[in-house]
Amino acid sequence: MAEPMGFFTDTTVCIGCKACEVACKEWNQLPSTNGGANTLSGHSYDNTRQLDGIHWRHVKFVEQFDDDRHGGRWLMMSDVCKHCVQAGCLEVCPTGAIIRTEFDTVVIQSNVCNGCRDCIAACPFGVIGLNPVSGTAQKCTLCYDRMQVGLTPACAKACPTESIKFGPIKDLRQTARARVEKLHALGRSRAALYGEDETILGGLNSFYLLEDRPEVYGLPAHPKLPSRNLIPSSLWSGLGAVLVGLVGLVSFRQRRMEEIRGKGREETRDV
């Protein structure tokens, strides 16, 4: 296996130009929204709105203004699939369309996906969406095709401020930690990394430098794997089956109720 590769996105230098979004759309030949009709979100300067099947990069604008608009701040963050080391989408995919590549990234094979959309519900970050052209679930591939021939992903290549850095995860971690130290030394004490270590889903191969709580950027503080519910939910359902079986048994054997009460539990176990 090749070395784990990924993105480190330093939101402190993002200027919101959306060159990454454009480069991503160009390279991956993603269709436009509403057939190219110009639609405005109406509540933000951001008109991309969200990550989905035709937006694999999304520069989020966090616009925080006072009511009288005297004070305010902009936070900008180029969001993308996190390529989780423990990936919820990969877990639930029933067709095997979602795979882990030799670069430790997570890719949806569009020729295998049948559009059941379980991965969309499973992703803790709301990254995946349907691409109406292919009819399949799609998201960032970390430019798997470019990586296989040694090229940098389109978004990182296009980023004019190097907010998006691409490289081997271990190098990116070093860079990121050094950057946080530097910001702390400058008095920007809220600077912190999100997803750079194993605490979040075993590590995010696309991790971030943030200057506020993750929720402010629309990121969950403690994302979880869908499989956490598998065993408890199955056990409760099993209990339900036993209870329904007992109700049925009692209902159809009313005449022999006395006998059942007397002889008892061995029989009910046989259900």
């Binding site: 994302p223 359902s237 339900g240 109700v247 209902s251």
Partner: protein, 295 residues
């Protein structure tokens, strides 16, 4: 704020809701038929037959609904077979993968039992009636019944094994769907039984069963809402009103009153209660699925 609020909806809507309903009806009807066959007396055989007659068409409708819900229905078989290697694909940790196989396995048993009851009524070779009798019949009934329980409950587990609000905020959805599936199946068989004249004896047993299932479902529903914790605030909405009026009141409390006080509506009590249970079962699935979609 729950971490589940940062996720995106999968747009599982009416086709999936109807699948949950028909899948529950298929699994539940088969289970009730097996219970009647195994534990009832000779007078319950006609009722059991009705259960097998319901299970197969319901599971076929369910499978078609699921296929139609895929955005690439032509690739429905990718659920079962690795599309590029041609080998079987089974992921025990993915409820949708297990569910696809469960649907096939249940469909197989439902088909065998359907053949048996067809044979008994003279519409298929008589030898096939052995599929419901003797040791072979017992084995088919037991395994089919287990797969019926699976089909009735796994859909709730499927919703839980995601990261969506409501669905993944509780471990009780599988239990809720399973109990509800048994209840709507009893209700459907009461209606069909009255129509086909299976005998008051069998209807009384089904009615007794559904009464207790409704009580159980009410308890599970309360536990379900309580288990949501802070996420329960999603019910402060039109969906909450629908849950309260459409499911709790119309689908559970009123039918329960009719089961316990059959004189309320005279001869209409049993069919009215059954219709309300069926509607309540559908509305339950509508509310659970669409309330999460709306977040």
């Amino acid at each position: 704020m729950s971490d589940t609020f940062f996720t995106a909806p999968p747009h599982w809507q009416w086709l999936v809701i109807l699948y949950f309903f028909f899948g529950g009806l298929a699994g539940g009807s088969y289970v009730i038929a097996v219970l009647a066959d195994f534990f009832g007396d000779a007078s319950d055989r006609r009722l059991a037959r009705l259960g097998y007659y319901v299970a197969l068409p319901a599971v076929i409708i369910g499978g078609l609904l699921l296929t139609a819900d895929l955005t690439r229905p032509d690739r429905f078989w990718h659920m079962l077979v690795m599309s590029e290697r041609g080998r079987p694909l089974f992921k025990s940790w993915s409820p949708m993968s297990v569910g696809s196989w469960g649907l096939m396995v249940f469909g197989g048993f439902a088909f065998l039992s359907f053949l048996a009851v067809l044979a008994e009524s003279g519409r298929a070779p008589a030898a096939l009636s052995g599929l419901r009798h003797g040791r072979l019949g017992r084995i088919i009934g037991a395994l089919g019944g287990l797969s019926g329980f699976f089909l009735a409950g796994y859909t709730g587990v499927l919703l839980a094994v995601t990261n969506r609000p409501i669905w993944s905020d509780t471990p009780l959805l599988g239990l809720l769907f399973l109990v509800s599936a048994a209840s709507i199946s009893a209700a459907a068989l009461i209606l069909l039984g009255l129509w086909q004249g299976v005998g008051s004896h069998s209807i009384a047993r089904l009615s007794h069963m559904d009464g207790w299932l409704i009580v159980l479902e009410l308890l599970v529903l309360i536990a379900f809402v309580a288990s949501l914790g802070s996420v329960a605030r999603v019910w402060v909405s039109a969906w909450g009103v629908l849950l309260l009026l459409g499911v709790v009141l119309a689908g559970l409390v009123v039918p329960l009153a009719l089961h316990w006080r059959p004189r309320l509506l005279g001869g209409l009590s049993a069919p009215a209660a059954a219709v309300l249970v069926l509607v309540g079962g559908l509305v339950l699935r509508v509310v659970i699925v669409l309330a999460a979609e709306a977040v």
